[in-house]
Symmetry: C2
Subunit: 408 residues, 2 copies
């Protein structure tokens, strides 16, 4: 059994102000079996906002892109898969500088307008020569569209490309957002995804982009968990080319942005859920809602403790309605509640009612819910109005197989 | 491959003031295939100290035993395996009260001198009748010694009984400590073990016992991790019968207790390590030392982040010297450090030196260290004098197999 991947959007149109190219450099092991390099060229005056991992150990491209965000402008994005360029010391930073400098030169941009991101194995030197030698040809092949091939080029252990798109209006103008992401393991909040790139033709100032991005991420990328591990490379960038001609919007709270903010949130949620659906080894997609907490933050803390519990995740893998483990995980979340006030539902089945096994509960009904590939779990703490929904997956034999020997 | 279990002490002598009995009640599934009930009778004037889970959801026996600790005296201990008597509501508390009342009555003790502990499945009613019907026969069969059979009776997914013992002196008198523990999953600090019972014939006031126990646990049971899950039933009790005749020691800082404190720590460390060695599905036993932190607490925080990382644990399972994952886990521990100052050793092999792959490092040497069943890992943060050692195991297919369908 496996979770169904979300449908890939049928046809994603070109987006004014963005041109893409991919290449196969053999970054991981020298074998040019798949695309592993993506270059996106952006129109002049493109604005940008970004979020990065909070890990103390940060890859060179994260350090570099974070610095460049201060300018608020972007002309290009260079992404490689197969090598994280993390814990690679000064040589790693030189590699990031060198490859991005060449990309900037080739598309006629300033170096600080070129953003970089890497994903893959930690601690192996980035094969700069292989990348550099492909770059002139990539610039020649830059073209509008080609989103799916781009989304495939940034994959590592992902089993399917992750794309989402929404169209909406800003004032009278129609604008579009197209997003892609990659990630399947090393996933936890505070920038859960390893890499996510969002592109829009809307015309929005970079400070406002930043606010919109923060708001969209709270209920999407920061509300998922696969394994509780946090990457050194998490990078999320939102680029706005302004080519829709909607007239620059300066404030994130401008009422003209209401529809755009909603669309951005929808794209982020769809991409974040796609990561969980593709969670390493995942056979279940779980929507976990905690209500009745003092506040939303407390609800989320309890939800994440449950979502990260190996015993809950293995019970999910075994289709075992082991509700005791769910309550036990809630109990160590570090949030105060009255165990006698807890109620728990598996799907529509009431399992625990005010701290005790519900009279109406039958194990067979709980087991039927847990046997499905898509499972909804709701825990009510019986306290305040705080609520939170997070998405997670199960912990299976395949997770072990994928990760016990990832590098060989 | 599997971790070798620690040797079971050849012959554990009877301990003055303690008599034991076990029985087979068919608690888990009605089939009387193994011992699942332990009764320990203690001499009058036995003192007691204890520690319990910090989980918000606490089993009835935890609530009851914690209350009874206030008296500081013990005459009996009743332990069952196969059923945790957790999340069982008022009926669960009645079951704990009823079984302990009968035990107290049969051995002629006050009810508040009878301690109870349970371990096993959560949320299933405790089969009180089965337990109660065995108890008179058990009281008749109480006898000195029988430690190994007792240690086997409290096992659940454990694959071997866990016992440790030390002899030492208090003043001129020789005293002994015998400890037993059970636990293999749902293991994390803040009472890592599910159940641990320590017995000594020393004569020590209960307040001092409490201090000694707290000190011994910090560097043993609270320094291990199997899966990061925390139980609803963790219970640790230390009983002192006083029958060694060393003359009551009132203060934990009495110099006469120096040897005893050391011996207690040694017993706790040996038992805690035995839990890790028997970690569900474990094929590796890992000693992880973090040094160079601002303080010991910071060092421990980093060590536990590494010990709990699923990606580190799966790399261990695959004998993959994936040192990048170790640094990445350190990076999200929430402790400040300079990534450029990190050094990492696998066994005696220097892998990372001041933030970069060591010039002398060869992958084959790292792989050789990781292939062993016992692995030492040391991470130096390059900062202060804080240091901490914790013990953990790998995350294997067998962990999934054991936990995906524990209840059936």
């Amino acid at each position: 059994m496996a979770v169904s991947p979300p449908p890939i959007p049928d046809f994603l149109p070109p987006l004014a102000g963005f041109r893409l190219a991919v290449a196969s450099c053999g970054i991981k092991n020298g074998r040019r079996e798949r695309d592993d390099l993506l270059l996106v060229e952006m129109a002049p005056e493109t604005t940008v906002a970004g979020l990065f991992t909070r890990n103390r150990v940060q890859a060179a491209p994260v350090v570099l892109s974070r610095q460049r965000l201060a300018w608020g402008r972007a002309r290009g994005l260079l992404v490689n898969s197969g090598n994280a360029n993390a814990v690679t010391g000064e040589a790693g930073m030189r590699a990031a500088l060198e490859t991005s400098a060449l990309a900037a030169h080739l598309i006629g941009a300033d170096e600080h307008e070129l953003f970089v991101a890497s994903t893959g194995v930690i601690g192996t030197p980035l094969p700069v020569e292989q990348i550099v030698s492909e770059m002139p040809g990539m610039v020649d092949s830059l073209a509008a569209g080609g989103w799916e091939r781009a989304a495939r080029a940034i994959m590592t252990t992902d089993t399917f490309p992750k794309l989402a798109s929404r169209e909406c209006r800003i004032g009278a103008e129609s604008v579009r957002i197209i997003g892609m992401t990659k990630g399947a393991g090393m996933i936890r909040p505070d920038m859960a995804t390893m890499l996510a790139f969002l592109f829009t033709d809307a015309d929005i100032a970079s400070a406002s982009l930043r606010t919109l991005l923060n708001r969209a991420v709270a209920g999407s990328f920061n509300a998922i968990s696969v394994d509780g591990d946090q990457s050194t490379n998490d990078t999320m960038l939102l680029f706005a080319s302004g080519r829709a001609g909607n007239g620059r919007v300066e404030s994130a709270d401008d009422p003209r942005l209401a529809e755009f903010a909603q669309a951005l949130h929808a794209v982020c949620r769809e991409l974040a859920q796609a990561i969980v659906r593709d969670g390493e080894g995942a056979s279940k997609f779980v929507t976990l809602t905690v209500s009745g907490a003092a506040g939303d933050a407390e609800a989320k803390q309890v939800a994440m403790a449950i979502a990260n519990s190996p015993l809950v995740k293995t019970a999910l893998a075994g289709s075992d309605p082991n509700w005791g483990r769910i309550l036990a995980a809630a109990g160590y979340a570090g949030v105060g509640f009255d165990p006698g006030a807890l109620s728990l539902w598996l799907g529509e089945v009431l399992v625990v009612e005010r701290g005790q096994l519900a009279n109406t509960y039958e194990e067979a009904r709980g087991a039927a819910v847990m046997a499905a590939a898509e499972i909804a779990i709701r825990l009510d703490l019986g306290g305040g109005a705080g609520t939170s929904t997070v998405w997670t997956c199960d912990l299976t034999h395949d997770y072990i197989t994928i990760n016990a020997d990832y590098r060989t």
